[in-house]
């Protein structure tokens, strides 16, 4: 009864003496080689106006899901046209699989989900979502403030080792990348200044330009951008993964506030470390400028550094460090906020990390603009 193994799946529609339609199935049915179409059989059934159908599977060789799929498809066609199907002659296992595939009725509610809402609906829903996001973020800010206040008064529940780990992760471990970037920024600033200032024989003022530029703006800004890519994304991914694996729920049900336990140490760590990194970036940036000054402009290192130090007013230095602390807070808040509102799938964790970086960089640039206006008014 087994057909030769080399035979491809074949199907034919015939009529038995009693006038019923017979679908004769034969050959090897292998999913990886594809599935024969049911359309020719369906067209023939329509043309013959058959009212009943039975199978003849005597010539079927080894079979798999492709045959199950074929029979299920044919039966669905027959059901739609009120053609009675006699399944008895199918191999026993096949008949059982077909029965199993049709045992559970289709969940109609499941399929009937609306996917195309009118434009006005979608605009409205998006607007409502934006407002909800604003109120969510405000709530998050408030909760963070409360957690920080509790931490300051020593009432917050968190692990000191977590705080130290966060300090290491966003402080010491960021040294190499901050060194590289701020050195290059110093070099770039010096080159830009040198081209203009050399024309006036005022090459020594490159030192002023680099020193003021680094200390006032670029030190804090570049450290902020590095840290949002490095640490902000890590915070979002960590907390997002904790959300996916229900670790956040485990904390909350234990009566430990995730804000105190997770957000507060991260915010504190970044706010403490950012000014230090910024100060370091300032120094390295000035050294980068000095390299250009000494090698290209033939200035003496001593003169360059003396000019740099003279250019930096204490208020400028403090202003830059304050800015960096604020940037640190913005990065930590963006990272933690996006982590907490992460969806519950692995792709959502990636989205959260991306959004955290984008939000942090936008916030840093906006804050930088606001500081520029503020410092101008204060005359710093």
């Amino acid at each position: 009864m087994i057909a030769p193994d080399s035979e491809a799946p074949n199907v034919a529609l015939e009529r038995d003496p009693a006038g019923a339609a017979v679908v004769r199935i034969g050959g090897r049915w292998r999913l990886r080689r594809g599935m024969p179409a049911t359309e020719p059989i369906e067209r023939a059934l329509e043309a013959a106006g058959a009212r009943a159908l039975r199978f003849d599977a005597a010539a079927v060789g080894p079979w798999d899901s492709s045959l199950v799929g074929f029979v299920v498809r044919l039966e669905e066609f027959c059901r739609a046209r009120n053609i009675a199907v006699e399944r008895g002659a199918l191999p026993e296992g096949l008949a059982r699989m077909v029965a199993l595939a049709q045992a559970v009725p289709e969940n109609r509610d499941a399929r009937a989900r609306s996917d195309a809402a009118p434009l006005l609906d979608r605009v409205g829903a998006a607007t409502i979502a934006k407002f909800a996001a604003i109120s969510n973020f405000t709530e998050f800010l408030g909760e963070t403030a409360i957690a920080l206040a509790r931490m300051a008064t020593g009432r917050a529940r968190f692990r000191r080792s977590d705080l130290l780990e966060a300090i290491q992760a966003c402080g010491a471990n960021a040294f190499a990348i901050v060194t590289l970037i701020s050195y290059l920024v110093g070099v770039i600033l010096a080159f830009m200044g040198a081209i203009q200032l050399q024309q006036f024989g005022a090459a020594i003022y490159v030192a002023d330009l680099v020193a003021i530029g680094m200390v006032r703006e670029m030190g804090a800004m570049m450290t902020g951008i590095i840290m949002s890519g490095r640490t902000g994304a890590a915070f979002a991914a960590q907390l997002g993964t904790m959300k996916v694996t229900q670790e956040l729920d485990a904390l909350a049900t234990m009566g430990v506030s995730p804000m105190e336990f997770l957000t507060a140490p991260r915010v504190v760590a970044l706010v403490l470390m950012m000014p230090l990194l910024c100060l370091y970036a300032d120094v390295v940036g000035i050294l980068g400028g000095a390299t250009v000054g000494v090698v290209m402009l033939r200035l003496s290192l001593q003169a360059y550094l003396r000019e740099s130090i003279a250019a930096i007013l204490p208020a400028t230095l403090v202003g830059g460090l304050v800015k960096s602390a604020v940037y640190g807070a913005l990065i930590a808040l963006a990272g933690c906020y996006e982590g907490f509102k992460c969806g519950d799938s692995s792709s959502a964790v990636g989205d959260a990390a991306t959004r955290a970086v984008v939000a942090a960089i936008v916030a840093i640039v906006v804050a930088c603009g606001m500081f520029a206006v503020l410092f101008n008014i204060l005359g710093i």
Binding site: G34, M35, D64, E92, E106, S345
Partner: protein, 274 residues
């Protein structure tokens, strides 16, 4: 697909007559210097429902991960249909693994794809089916596990039990000759768990699939297990090999009987027949 699908196995009777599918010889599993299990020897026959059982943390899932090549053995070999899997080249291994389906403990569905896309991915990669046919076969597989109509749902939009069933649909997408299930009924209610057992039996009876199950659900073990291996965490070696019911009643290892009777047998007393 080496198993004769045209002649599905109808019952567990005459098990010894069926050809050996998976053979484990002298398998030692270790993480560094910590030996999890030493010198495991057992065989799984075609069309058999084979249970890997043992207490929590004894290395059941680790054994399964060895069988599907996710962990390399510290010693010993694994054979599929007589071919050495452990010593096989990577491409040969991939070919052998394509005849295996795996259901991971938590479903491990790809969360950025719908259920139909999850089931359809192996079909798209390893068959010549057209996209419409892939969708159709994926729907069929989902229908087999009772998820008809949920094709366009994402894994996080359905319940844990449904994720597990969708994971099973993905595992059987390519009609594997061997199906590995890691704790399939963990986290399911008794009724769903029973339905899953029936589904497993149905798959074996109609397609002749060899099914290897890691579990410690006694009800399932007795309901569907043809043969089993008990991993004894105390001696870090195989505690018993055989039909679960017979082991419960006649095993000479008291820890095996204790496990299979939910601790109702006192280890200190003499063996008693149930």
């Amino acid at each position: 697909m080496a198993n004769p699908l045209a002649n599905p196995v109808k019952s567990s009777a005459g098990a010894a007559a069926r050809p050996v599918h998976i053979k484990v010889r002298g398998l030692t599993m270790a993480f560094g210097s910590f030996v999890v299990m030493r010198d495991l020897n057992f065989t799984v026959r075609h069309g058999e429902i084979f249970i890997i059982m043992g207490g929590s943390g004894c290395g059941k899932s680790t054994l399964m991960r060895h069988l599907i090549g996710l962990i390399e053995p510290a010693a010993g070999e694994i054979y599929y249909d007589g071919a050495n899997f452990t010593a096989a080249a990577p491409e040969e291994r991939d070919t052998m693994l394509r005849r295996c389906g795996v259901l991971y403990q938590s479903g491990a569905l790809w969360s950025s794809m719908t259920l139909a896309e999850n089931v359809g991915l192996p079909l798209g990669e390893f068959t010549d089916l057209a996209p419409g046919e892939i969708r159709e076969i994926a729907s069929l597989k989902l229908a087999l596990v009772g998820l008809k109509g949920f094709e366009d749902y994402y894994p996080n939009q359905v319940s844990g039990g449904m994720q597990k069933r969708a994971g099973l649909a993905r595992a059987i997408a390519l009609d594997p000759a061997a199906l590995f299930l890691d704790e399939p009924s963990a986290g399911l209610d008794p009724v769903s768990s029973n339905l899953l057992d029936e589904l497993i039996l149905e798959l074996r009876d109609s397609l002749g699939t060899t099914i290897v199950i890691v579990t410690h659900e006694l009800a399932s073990i007795f309901a569907i297990g043809d043969n089993s291996v008990f991993l004894d965490a105390e001696i870090h070696a195989m505690g018993a090999f055989g039909n679960p019911k017979e082991l419960r009643d006649h095993s000479d290892n008291p820890r095996v009987r204790r496990f299979l009777t939910r601790g109702a047998i006192n280890l200190e007393t003499a063996p008693q027949d149930g």
